[in-house]
Amino acid sequence: MTKLFTYIRESQIWKSIFRHGYPDTPRNRTLAVLSNVFLHLHPVKVRRSGIRLSYTWCMGGLTFFLFLILTLTGLLLMFYYRPTADKAYEDIFALREHVPIGVMREMHRWGAHLMVISVWLHMYRVFLTGSYKPPREFNWNVGVILLVLTLLLSFTGYLLPWDQLAVWAITVGTNMARATPFLGHEGPGAALVSFGGIDFIHAGDDVRFGLLAGRFVGEGALLRFYVLHCVGFPLIAATLMAVHFWRVRKDGGISGPL
């Protein structure tokens, strides 16, 4: 057995992938991190205080991991889902009816709830340990945008099952946009945006109409939310996550006393 492992580890294929020996020496442990693009998000050495669970709560890591789970399960769900008003509900219903012990939709839904919670707790921890203070001000801001994106991802996904809960939750949520100052048709100042007696802001062109692609939550809104949920927001979030992790390293590493 040992012989077989040695043979594999000394083969040209193995060596072409892992360009270092077994990571049990300082040199090889350093190379293990440095030569791997994913592990390279970490520095080679970290403060011992910064990796204690009682300090970090692991919430940032869990959030990222949840994002990966949601991407994977979401991708699988996309194979079985058609974002149209007459098919969407049917497809989600079929997932429950026809798949024994199906867990993809469950993982996606519970994971999405949990991701919102873990983002909040991550932000809470970062605040309580003062980790937004110089030199990490900018990264705190990236984090705030990621928090908003997480909520938007969850919000757009909320509509997709196309059941009563989904449609009415989005209706309640987007009704707020009617009241946007100047840009919503029931918002303060909207009446001022007129020219020669013609109102520019009305129910057919205000900011809510833009969000929903219509005057109510209908097929246009479903497609719009679907595209944003599956492509738009994940792309922006993934890009900002890369920035976020990079800046953790560049702005002094895992937070700890200076």
């Binding site: 403060r47 890591g61 519970w110 009241a179 918002g187 700890g256």
Partner: protein, 380 residues
């Protein structure tokens, strides 16, 4: 109280026959969670916990808290109304939120108390002691991450197998469910709709939350407490965030999920969600108070004249208070922060304070709007 008891005996699934202690506990829970008392009790709890933090940071306190909560849950599950709302599959995460926020708040408080004591004795903080040592990412950090990942995936799988994701009736734009609730993480904002119009609760205040969060690192110039838990080195920042996050965000999410029923009426945890529960609407505008009650005249027709008292009050609040404070009690703050930072901070802070002020005025004098101009959709 009698309402809760009546519904317990009458509605809500299987009839329940409680003994005097059980009925008393349920009535007390329903009484305490009424929004006014709930909010005042949460404020007192936050202030009390911060003040007596040495007591609350002890291990046995949190253990006792979770033991009692578990006992309470076991007791409460017997009740059909409580059971119906807690065991909704989508509400499971809210229970997790409740437990985890309390646990982590306690953990942070405990470490802050320990660190503050160590600093007083001239010793390094818990984090400071360990920060001198550096360890290799491989294996120390990578292993922690791997173990977390595996345990977490296992937990997610078990949860997903045990509880099936719900799906309700197909979408029907003609049938409005009652209550219609936003997604749970926005229920804090939906709760604010009780006190503010949508343009404030749904657009302006959320924007200020995001702007305010972004501004935090540029407004908090206190260099202490960077990278370790503490309370005494930054009491204002911690207390402020506790009030904002724990009270106005998390506790309102819990209130909105479990205690708001049809028509967004309040229902105690053991109360049956009766569609016909009516809450009297007797709210009065500031202009009515001023013209009708105080001057004993009819309200003027011109909206701007009519609302002048509210306009003056709010302009005074936002434009007079910052320079007034800046010249007097907060003089030192202005010197440290500079005019720009100070003004940004004051305006965000005054908006924040406006929320509990308006809530308090609603509860005490039934104030509806400071400025009520439905003609222009401008109600504050």
């Amino acid at each position: 109280m009698h309402l809760a008891l009546a519904t317990l005996l009458g509605g809500g699934g299987a009839p329940v026959h409680d003994g005097p202690i059980a009925a008393g506990l349920k009535n007390f829970s329903n009484w305490l969670t009424e929004p006014t008392r709930y909010s005042v009790a949460s404020i007192l709890a936050v202030v009390g916990i911060l003040y007596f933090r040495k007591f609350f940071a002890q291990v046995w306190v949190i253990t006792a808290f979770f033991a009692l909560s578990t006992a309470y849950f076991v007791f409460a599950f017997q009740d059909p109304n409580f059971n119906a709302i807690i065991t909704k599959p989508d509400n499971v995460p809210i229970v997790i939120l409740f437990a985890s926020v309390i646990f982590f708040t306690w953990l942070a408080l405990r470490r802050a108390v320990i660190n503050d004591e160590r600093t007083k004795r001239g010793e390094p903080t818990l984090e400071g002691e360990l920060a001198k040592q550096k360890v290799f990412t491989w294996p120390d950090l990578v292993y922690t991450e791997l173990i977390c990942l595996i345990l977490f995936t296992a937990g997610m799988l078990v949860w997903s197998i045990l509880i099936t994701a719900p799906i309700e009736e197909p979408a029907a734009t003609a049938r409005t469910p009652n209550p219609s609730k936003a997604p749970w993480y926005f229920l804090g904002l939906q709760e604010l709709l009780v006190y503010f119009d949508p343009w404030l609760a749904g657009v302006v205040l959320p924007s200020f939350i995001v702007v305010g969060l972004c501004a935090i690192p540029y407004l908090d110039l206190n260099p202490k407490g960077n990278g370790y838990y503490t309370f005494e080195e930054r009491p204002f920042a911690i207390a402020f965030f506790w009030v904002g996050f724990l009270l106005f965000w998390v506790s309102f999410v819990i209130l909105g999920t479990f205690l708001r029923g049809p028509n967004w009426s309040f229902f105690g945890p053991f109360e049956y969600w009766d569609l016909h529960k009516l809450e009297p609407m007797v709210n009065v505008d500031l202009s009515t108070y001023f013209w009708v009650e105080l001057l004993d005249k009819p309200r003027p027709d011109n909206a701007f004249v009519r609302e002048a008292p509210g306009i003056v009050a709010l302009l005074g609040y936002f434009l007079v208070l910052p320079p007034l404070f800046g010249k007097t009690v907060m003089k030192k703050m202005v010197e440290e922060m500079g005019m720009v930072r100070f003004n940004v901070f004051m305006h965000l802070f005054l908006w924040f304070v406006l929320i509990p002020v308006k809530m308090g005025l609603r509860w005490t004098v039934n104030l509806k709007y400071f400025i009520g101009m439905p003609e222009y959709f401008f109600n504050v």
